[in-house]
Subunit: 246 residues, 6 copies
């Protein structure tokens, strides 16, 4: 089985990190490839960049489908799940977003989860996703560590401490019994944070591999009746961000 992860920002180091995180959570018969666009947003930290990210996701799926190689499932590796509905329209195979995946997983290991994101301005998007997926009751805490996405690439930054501090408040003040990491760039922090917090810490990249491969194995594709039928027109090539296949 071949799964393609799409990081819609242009950070190559983050894309590599995503690929590793996905690979670690994969069954032995799964091949993982991660890609990112070669131009577009360096990180997705505003509603405006979310639009660029959505366009990048759709472009990559269309490009991948017109290339010859078989892909069995797609993952949108950005916590806002940008372009998820459009991706389900254009893809012929299952698509899962990492926010969606982490939240689903969190509800299987505890009653209440908290989300810890990067900048406060992204909390609105997270709240929309929580409602869209049905987890208003399960999600008891939405917190931002006030850390820019790209600071996560710098091991000397104080990002981890800031994230841990908010996660602890989610557990102790808001009664979360599991934590969802609100950025693909946090994938490497699960074990460290679990050790500090004493509750499960869920990364959406790893979670998405389980969800999408599960759909593939059970033969469940996106419903092509109605809303997610192939769109009447493709996205024009001129509107597609260019990508960098890795």
């Amino acid at each position: 089985m071949h799964l393609r992860l799409i990081n819609p920002n242009t950070s190559v180091p983050m894309t590599e990190q995503i690929e590793v995180a996905a690979w670690r959570a994969s069954a032995p018969d799964i091949e993982i490839s991660a890609v990112c666009p070669s131009e577009g947003a360096a990180s997705i930290e505003s509603h405006t960049e979310e639009i660029l990210a959505a366009a990048a996701v759709v472009a990559e799926i269309e490009r991948a489908q017109s290339a010859g190689r078989r892909i069995d499932g797609f993952v949108i590796a950005c916590f806002g799940d940008p372009g998820l509905d459009a991706a389900r329209e254009v893809a012929s195979v299952p698509v899962v977003g990492i926010a969606e995946a982490a939240m689903h997983a969190a509800t299987l290991v505890g009653r209440h989860f908290g989300v810890v994101t990067t900048l406060p301005r992204t909390l609105g998007r997270a709240e929309d996703l929580v409602r869209r997926y049905g987890f208003e009751t399960a999600c008891v805490s939405l917190r931002a560590a006030d850390v820019p996405v790209l600071a996560l690439e710098d091991p000397s930054s104080e990002a981890v401490d800031a994230i841990a501090a908010e996660a602890l408040r989610a557990v102790e003040e808001d009664r979360a019994d599991a934590i969802v990491l609100g950025c693909a760039g946090m994938a490497g922090l699960c074990r460290t944070l679990e050790a500090r917090l004493g509750v499960p810490v869920l990364d959406g990249v790893a979670a998405s591999v389980g969800l999408v491969s599960g759909l593939v194995r059970m033969g469940a594709g996106t419903s092509k009746r109605g809303e997610y039928a192939y769109p009447p027109r493709s996205m024009p090539t001129s509107a597609m961000p260019r990508n960098r296949v890795r």
Copy 2:
């Protein structure tokens, strides 16, 4: 007061019709201008096209703001309210979407409203908006007339009958006491449909003029604290669809 309406599809006739509908619902001291992109989607009938529309909306606001002329408020003249959150980020003046506007207006003239859209595949987006705006209880009916957007430009089409038939079912079967028209292209049908149905029929273009001009008059701009603060980076020009100023 100068209000700018943005039709994110490329149809010039529809843009002109939108401008007229807005002008008819305006106070005497309001100037209306409507624009559409010169390239992009001919109509917005899929999640994929919704992304193009969102990019077109943001591009037009940024372009308008860097041009010299004063604009007091923006309207997104497409029923999916594409790019509304991003528009509130980038605009310095109030922004309202027509779906939002029509739904707000409908709750002021009745307890329950129904939405009649074009193609069934757009119902999912409408459902998302209903929840986002808080109208799950007020909205008792989401129906599609199964009419493509561009058929609305053709007076000889049977589009009006199809829309009236679904609206009637919303009233009689689903107990709607007002009808929201689910496409900017339906703006001209209000009076005809009201005569047939006996309940108020709300067009978002007219409704949005009242809402956004009201915000301007009371001095209420978008909150720039937190989520809708100006984004850290502008949308790159290369990602902006070109437009056609009218």
Copy 3:
């Protein structure tokens, strides 16, 4: 266009203040008149007084409609929106309440709003209205400044500081990005509070003028099919509080 605002308490100074606030937010072609009953409750601060207020609202609409002068829309200028459903029954033109109007406006300028009212005992009514209008998710804070309504008429009182303090807690602790003022008597405080808080502050009197004039311009009247059809019997004159036309 002639809009009639109904203050259902007997305070003439508050009625004059309401008229001014409405006039300031009006288009040039709008005429404003505000009235209050000559007997009834001095202020509306309990559920019991809410009933008197509701009766006063209906009485004034019936009286206005039987008088000869044309009125194009009514506003209920009391934050509990007393008698709103009944007013929609008896009026032939659109009716909007100021709580309703301020909350609608708040959702157009931010994701989350907070309400700051006068006495704590009025919070229950505010909570009912929030749910009735669909804003449970948007409204993240309901706070009382513990200030009686009539203290708002006294410039030397500490009412403004108390209101500002609760509004600040709504912003900082509850994550509101806009504030709704929970009393018609607070209409004059918007600019002062905005300067202190850094977020939009919405007054329902100003907001209601935009909403109801918008409905008039788009030709949208209350649905007279079903619930809001004219009532089978008028309110008996003996049950009507007397009023003072201004």
Copy 4:
């Protein structure tokens, strides 16, 4: 224990019928008295009449409390529960509404209930009450038999058949497994309808006696902290509908 039932319309036969229905559902140590105003609305079938009814309820409680005789609990014997919040403010003993009572009872004997009311225009009020009491999930059907309230006094009318027909649709089409009768005047129909429908049929008059006497026996009065504290001012006598003690 002495319970006072307040029928807020002026129908003496209906008041007598309410007294009998309450007495039949009472423990042996309970005395029942029912009253109605001597002037006011003949029946409560509009939002406007609901205001008169609310005033009548508050007036009767204040009158009863200033008379010398001990009363242990009040029942508002009109399905819209008019004035319930105000009644809890002014009363020193527990108050229950019959809509509230019937809905609570219905959730104890089945998962889903349906309400059958009189005129369609009263459905909006019923929907508000369902939400206010928390029964949106439990209540799966709101139907009107299109029967005026006073037709229920006429044994030769076809009212019973019309009510039975809607109740049957609630059971078979909407999956209700219990029926709530939506008018105090239907109190005598329970057994007849149960025999026809095969599911429990709940009358609020009987249900309210159980609820309010239960509160009295367990020593639970209305919380006087906050919202339901005695109001700062009584209702002025001039605003009180006159009553007829029976």
Copy 5:
């Protein structure tokens, strides 16, 4: 009327206390009998013990129904309402749970209630019940005193202080205006806590007597159409916990 209360844990002192609490809240024509199983869980403080409790409840109802003596209603006297749905299936007379009863009663005496339970691990079950019964809006506080159930039998323990402290936080921080006691073993604390808190304190044992006797007097039995029809097969005797009739 004969009501049978079922304490599903094996504590005889708690069963006796439950019987007394029920008797105190009963009308003079009601006979009360309380039973508990002779083997099973000493207290119900985990989901695992909840299963044992549910089995004990069903066993006792089946045993009571096959014995000759008439029983008019059952009460499940454990705050998790274990086995309530199954009890409604097997019983021919009404069944009420004490959590359900206390929550219903709380909504009749205030707008917002708080629940104070024993161990924090039981809060999840309480949250499920709140949603099942429709009281998500009414219930504003779920708190645990961190007191084991059996400590409630020891008058020298500090349990009462711990419960009072959490109840006070529910009132002052969470705005509860009534308190629900989250354990049958707390039945004796109502008056003490009310004196300390100044708001109504509701015990489910007393509340359930009012509810179930009210259903009996109004002739309302569990709907036997559909979900609560008698089960196709009885619980096998081998699966029934033995009981101790008192």
Copy 6:
């Protein structure tokens, strides 16, 4: 990885069928074993049998954990997810229910799903699960084929036609774009029904393998802080249904 599926009814053929369905959806490194109790309920079709099933699930987990063999995750293979909360308490490894799993999967392949169960009396339990998992908006249809569980073992029965008919109504009348099969015994019908219906048909047995193995691979265990901590006392052996290891 070794996954243990627990069928809580005593049907050996159904247990074998479950094992096969799970094995078919497994990665190559997964070993599957399915067990059922040797005494207990022949099928789970009432709330009373649900209690037996819950006890059987807990007993099997405790038995498996005290036996020497390593198990990496448990699946509760009965659509009511009996005993799921208790199972998370007693298990040291992740536990997933098949209703939960199928519903999660359905939300990944469409916007709206419908559930088709066996007997109508089981719909209440399904509705509870839908709410517990957060899928009230996603689940638009709950239908029963009126087929007893054990009829599914009989290939000559008309069960498949009855299930297909209800599923078709869910798609066409209720707008489901995916179908969830509401019984472990329906696992073999997915492909047949998909061919007839043209939308994805989800079986919980297959879906649960993907979910629970995904949790194992990402190292996510049940949160042992709070609600799902190991229970203070084990289930007494006398309360455990005996089992049959396969």
